[in-house]
């Protein structure tokens, strides 16, 4: 593997993560090392293997039938908004999204 600084910048951009110059270099080096290790999976021929997209086998499935669509009381809005960094009940306030 050869992970470049630009690779890490791109990923940090996708993940909305501010990273310092030191962090960019550290994660570049560590990502390189970890992905090199992960490369050992290529020793395995998996061409005929179906990916395991869920854990439960067919005979152990959870009750996957849809529940009835019932209205149930939920009075948690005040509690939820109380946890917001900048609430404006009944809204969450955020910095400006669109420039006029």
């Amino acid at each position: 593997m050869k992970i470049t600084r630009e690779d890490v910048v791109r990923v940090a951009e996708l993940a909305y993560l501010d990273l310092s110059e030191d962090e960019l270099e550290k994660y570049r080096r560590q990502l390189d090392e970890i992905l090199t290790y992960i490369g050992k999976l290529n020793e395995l021929d998996t061409s005929g293997v179906a990916p395991m997209a869920q854990v439960l086998a067919d005979d152990q499935t959870a009750d996957a039938t849809l529940r009835e669509d019932l209205v149930v009381p939920s009075a948690v809005a005040d509690d939820v908004l109380r946890q917001a960094p900048d609430p404006e009940p009944p809204y969450f306030r955020v910095p400006k999204v669109l420039e006029r």
Partner: protein
């Protein structure tokens, strides 16, 4: 030496009115006050909620009504599990002041069973770590030797039970985070099958791997705890309708004649010689109990860590997208929305969490998805098949929980890959979805506990518990 309380012991003392639930929880808060400054096992205490619950139990006792399964039992809860009214940080700065508006289903069920929630235990940030050193609130110390790590990520829960600061505890296990700290601290620790315990209210790290499970001082109490929290929950579509047996009745069934698989791949290089000795002595106990030990192969074991760090980090990068400074937790102000997201996340997350978000985002990103994430899912299928094939030949699989005993604080924290490799014997079962337990299996260097791990077939926790109980009763903890 402080008294070791068990669930039966609490029930007897309360019924015989030797102590009230209120006095008992006060006794535990006293222990915590004395010991926690050194151990750092608890992040938050909930004396008010505990007192209310204790008063309810004491009123039940006074009225002579029957007591629920965990009446008055003081319990500690890992800080990634939502508790109504009790600050829940996930060991992260980004949730420093977060107070959940609801209880996780596991907490609701403990509550209904009469348990007393003492407080929240320290853990690696968002359960990402194997030593508890990734907590934003400082590492937990191992009660067996305070210059050593308690294991992770549920290190606070393991340490609290081992030090007698709670009768039992809840932890969570994604790649070994219940079993490995149980092993390092010398207490039984169990994860049920994937789907056995509802994840509703568990703050997500990797949703296809995360499981809630108990720590206790003995197997009977593990069985009691699991029995209370297990079972279908409409709030978690992956929780199954598989019936929950009475585990406490099941554990006493004889283990004679059971076939136990011993996979060669779990006894390879990198395993401490003294740990190997203890595990081999543990296997001898099973022979004496009349079990048959069968050499088996699980050929994809060596690929489990690589597979795990693709799947777990991919899921984490997605789950942790919710920390955006809008609805809860930290916000670092900025004049645009995107800059606010970036600054909030960049300063709120710790080093390991950022590393995993970077790795997880990378393996999911355009051009790399097939090479990493899809490949990981395919190898995961092969690892699950290793387990299915093994269970064609044997009733359970017995291995060490960890290749090493508790290491020193700081000893591994500089090299992430080395830290990841500490989970080598536990991640396999996580990927396969099978139930697993770690039971104490002697000590090395005179004081450092070793854990023996038992895997069973999906939804046959009863068999795993039978084997653990028989091992405990035969003196496994002091081999």
């Amino acid at each position: 030496m402080t008294t070791t309380w068990t669930i039966d012991g609490v029930r007897a003392a309360l019924s015989e009115k030797k102590i009230s639930a209120r006095e008992l929880s006060a006794e535990f808060y006293k222990r915590i006050e004395a010991r926690n400054p050194e151990l750092n096992a608890f992040l938050a205490l909930a004396p008010e909620r505990a007192r209310k619950q204790a008063d309810k139990i004491d009123a039940l006792i006074a009225s002579g009504k029957p007591l629920p399964a965990l009446a008055g039992v003081p319990i500690a809860v890992k800080d990634v599990i939502s508790t109504r009214g009790i600050v829940t940080t996930c060991g992260s700065r980004i949730l420093q002041n977060y107070v959940p508006p609801y209880d996780a289903t596991a907490i609701e069920r403990l509550d209904a069973a009469g348990a007393i929630i003492l407080g929240k235990t320290n853990c690696d940030e968002f359960a990402m770590g194997s030593s508890n050193e990734n907590s934003a609130y400082g590492a937990v110390k191992n009660p067996a030797s305070t210059d050593r790590v308690p294991g992770g990520s549920s290190g606070g829960s393991a340490a609290a039970v081992a030090a007698g600061l709670a009768v039992a505890a809840l932890g969570t296990d994604t790649g070994g985070s219940i079993r490995q700290p149980g092993s390092f601290c010398g207490v039984p620790a169990m994860m049920g099958s994937y789907g056995r315990v509802s994840r509703y209210g568990l703050i997500a790290f990797a949703s296809s791997l995360d499981r809630i499970g108990p720590f206790a001082t003995n197997i009977k109490d593990i069985a009691a705890m699991l029995g209370v929290i297990a079972g279908r929950d409409p709030h978690d579509s992956t929780s199954t309708t598989a019936p929950v047996p009475d585990y406490q009745n099941e554990i006493v069934k004889p283990v004679k004649g059971l076939r136990l698989g011993v996979p060669k791949e779990y006894f390879g290089e990198g395993m401490d010689a003294p740990v190997r000795q203890k595990i081999e002595a543990g296997l001898e106990i099973y022979k004496k109990l009349g079990c048959e030990l069968v050499d088996i192969r699980m050929p994809h074991t060596d690929y489990a860590i690589a597979t795990y760090y693709i799947i777990a980090t991919a899921e984490a990068s997605s789950n942790l997208a919710r920390y955006d400074g809008v609805r809860f937790g930290l916000r670092v102000d900025s004049d645009s929305l995107l800059a606010m997201y970036r600054k909030t996340r960049g300063s709120g997350f710790g080093d390991e969490v950022k590393r995993r978000i970077v790795l997880g985002t990378y393996v999911l990103s355009a051009g790399y998805y097939d090479a990493y994430y899809l490949k990981g899912q395919k190898v995961r299928a092969l690892i699950a098949k290793d387990f299915r094939d093994a269970f064609e030949k044997v009733d359970a699989i017995v291995t060490p929980t960890s290749p090493v005993p508790a290491f020193r604080l700081g000893e591994r924290s500089q090299n992430p890959l080395q830290m990841y490799l500490a989970d080598i014997y536990t991640v396999t079962g996580s990927l396969a979805g099978v139930p697993g337990i770690s039971v104490p299996c002697g000590k090395v260097c005179g004081k450092l506990p070793v854990g023996l791990q038992i895997f069973g077939t999906p939804f046959d926790e009863a068999r795993v518990l039978q084997l653990a109980y028989a091992f405990e009763q035969a003196g496994g903890a002091s081999v």
